[in-house]
């Protein structure tokens, strides 16, 4: 029963990550998402101070909103006001906000355990309530992507076209940031804030190796994430039963996502270029060049 629940929760997380992940990588915001996945700890801590409850839907939404706002504001401020390079300012902002988050959490809960739990996540203690928490966020992602598919597509591929069509990029940019933040927060309990980046980026990179259409990428990315989640839970259970190894399930899933990417890229690099060049030669012969 718990295995099934774990699979469902992790799959739901993988799907909601798989929906926003493609836009994230296409807009070259992967490092920004890394930053965001750290700063939501501070967002959650502040939301906890405001609302007084840690894992209610409203406090998590407030936390995600605050985190997205703070990260975007501070990083942009450092770049524009202080003329710092982008990479340096991202690095500076996320580490300091993360440090602040850990400090606030430790200060108010006097429980260093929460800090570690937040960072590493613990897929082995997920309950029915976690599933109920993850599903609304999945729905939010799905709804936003379905409604604003065109806008997201255009702003991530062609900024000038977006300008001509009078789609202003910044609201959708911020919406994407907010969705990433909510996604990170929904993954908070099961996989922690660090490993969620693997869920956001890994499956999309794998899918892009063999697929080049955005609608299909939005289909394949969640699917790969889901497969990795299910296999990860099974593997974790198997290792525990057979060898008595209690490993972090979230960690196993993230490792699997990485391995899938490595194998897929090796396979495609080994076979496709040869096949392609052979194909090309055939075409050239056929057309008489």
């Amino acid at each position: 029963m718990t295995d099934l629940l774990q699979m469902t929760v992790l799959s739901a997380i993988a799907i909601s990550c798989g929906l926003v992940g493609p836009f994230l990588v296409l807009k070259r915001m992967a490092m920004f998402a890394n930053s965001l996945s750290h700063t939501i700890l501070l967002g959650i801590a502040i939301a906890f101070l405001i609302t007084g409850s840690l894992f209610s839907l409203s406090s998590l939404l407030i936390g995600a909103f605050l985190a997205a706002l703070m990260t975007a504001f501070f990083t942009g401020g450092l770049i524009r006001l202080f003329r710092l390079q982008e990479d340096a300012s991202i690095g500076l902002v996320f580490t300091s906000l993360f440090a602040l988050g850990i400090t606030v959490v430790t200060l108010f809960t006097r429980d260093a355990h929460l800090g570690i739990e937040a960072v590493m996540g613990n897929a082995d203690i997920v309950q029915m309530s976690d599933l109920k928490l993850v599903l609304p966020f999945l729905g939010l992602n799905l709804l936003s992507i379905v409604i604003f598919y065109k806008q997201f597509q255009i702003t991530s591929f062609d900024q000038s076209l977006a300008k001509i069509l009078k789609i202003s990029a910044s609201p959708f940019h911020f919406l994407l940031l907010f969705l990433i933040a909510t996604t990170c927060i929904s993954a908070f309990r099961a996989v922690g804030v660090l490993l969620v980046l693997a869920f956001l980026v890994g499956p999309f990179l794998t899918a892009r190796l063999f697929c080049h259409r955005l609608p299909w990428l939005l289909f394949w990315t969640p699917l790969i994430g889901t497969i990795a989640s299910i296999c990860g839970v099974l593997l974790s259970r198997f290792l525990f039963e057979a060898f008595d190894l209690a490993l972090s399930t979230g960690g196993i899933v993230a490792t699997l996502i990485g391995l899938i990417y490595v194998f897929a890229s090796i396979k495609i690099n080994l076979f496709t270029p040869a096949a392609k060049s052979a194909n090309l030669k055939g075409n050239q012969k056929a057309s008489g060049i």
Binding site: F82, L92, T95, S96, A99, I102, T106, A112, G115, L194
Partner: protein, 280 residues
């Protein structure tokens, strides 16, 4: 605790281990400083000078790894990237020289380690986050208040330039109209006060002898630039006024000298106004 660092678990032997690792890193930087500098600033040049750029970069990567290992026990793996960046950002605001940058960044790192550890013991908070917070506050402080590069200094420079422009415009206005006619706002009053202090204006808001000369020289720069634009660059006479309004505050005496020689010591500007003689 690898994630956030726990200084309390350290013992004497760690001083030796981490100390020697840090010494090794510093020694390497000291020995390979020249080629390192060349490859950092101009990769193509160092390639063409047959320096081992790739080997250097590879070694630099391993040194970074070493430093991260040094930091694991005190700062923790998660926050080490902050410790790599923050001291360098802080040091960069104070210097333009690479040697100084290395030393200063090391110094900032050491100080933030010290204070962070102290604070963490004092307030019973996790060590790594405190060290990173101290390092980041150093970086923010330097970004704000560092001389020359700091935001505050740059703002002051812009403001003082604007004030000087205002002063010179007031002088010019009085020189042309013979009297001061403007509703004095706070900034205008500041400018007037400074003009009086510099002795270019008396208490009845009239130009002194020095002030007249100064105003004439500003008008001269303005009209010289207008003439230059219309004669040498072929602009229409109606379009030259606006840039001249800005250039009159920027032109230096050497530029004035060259303009005078280039335009063969002119007497009238494109609007047939007389150009005042060089006075100061």
């Amino acid at each position: 605790m690898l994630l956030f660092g726990q200084a309390a678990t350290m013992s004497d032997i760690h001083i030796w281990i981490y100390g020697s690792l840090a010494f090794f890193v510093a020694l390497f930087l000291f020995l390979t400083f020249r080629p390192l500098q060349a490859s950092l600033f101009d990769r193509d040049f160092s390639h063409s000078a047959k320096m081992p750029v790739q080997a250097l970069e590879r070694i630099l990567f391993w040194l970074l790894l070493l430093s991260l290992i040094v930091g694991i026990r005190s700062v923790g793996v998660v926050l080490m990237s902050g410790m790599v960046i923050a001291p360098a950002v802080a040091a960069r605001q104070f210097t333009d020289r690479l040697q100084v940058l290395f030393v200063l960044a090391g110094f900032f790192g050491a100080v933030s380690g010290l204070f962070g550890n102290y604070l963490s013991v004092l307030a019973n908070l996790p060590t790594g986050p405190m060290i990173v917070l101290v390092g980041t506050s150093f970086a923010l402080f330097s970004l704000l208040f560092a001389p020359k590069r700091g935001v505050l200094f740059r703002r002051c420079r812009v403001l003082s330039f604007r004030l000087r422009c205002l002063e010179e415009n007031i002088l010019k206005g009085i020189w042309k109209k013979g009297r001061f006619s403007e509703t004095p706002s706070l900034i205008v009053r500041t400018a007037l006060w400074r003009l009086k202090k510099e002795g270019w204006m008396n208490d009845r808001l009239e130009l002194t002898a020095d002030g007249t000369l100064k105003a004439a020289s500003i008008v001269r720069l303005h009209r010289l630039w207008e003439l230059y634009l219309s004669e040498q660059l072929g602009f229409q006479a109606e379009k030259v006024h606006r840039t001249a309004e800005e250039m009159e505050h920027i032109l230096t005496p050497e530029m004035e000298e060259k303009l005078t020689r280039l335009l063969e010591n002119p007497k009238h500007d494109p609007h047939h106004q007389p150009i005042p003689e060089k006075g100061l």
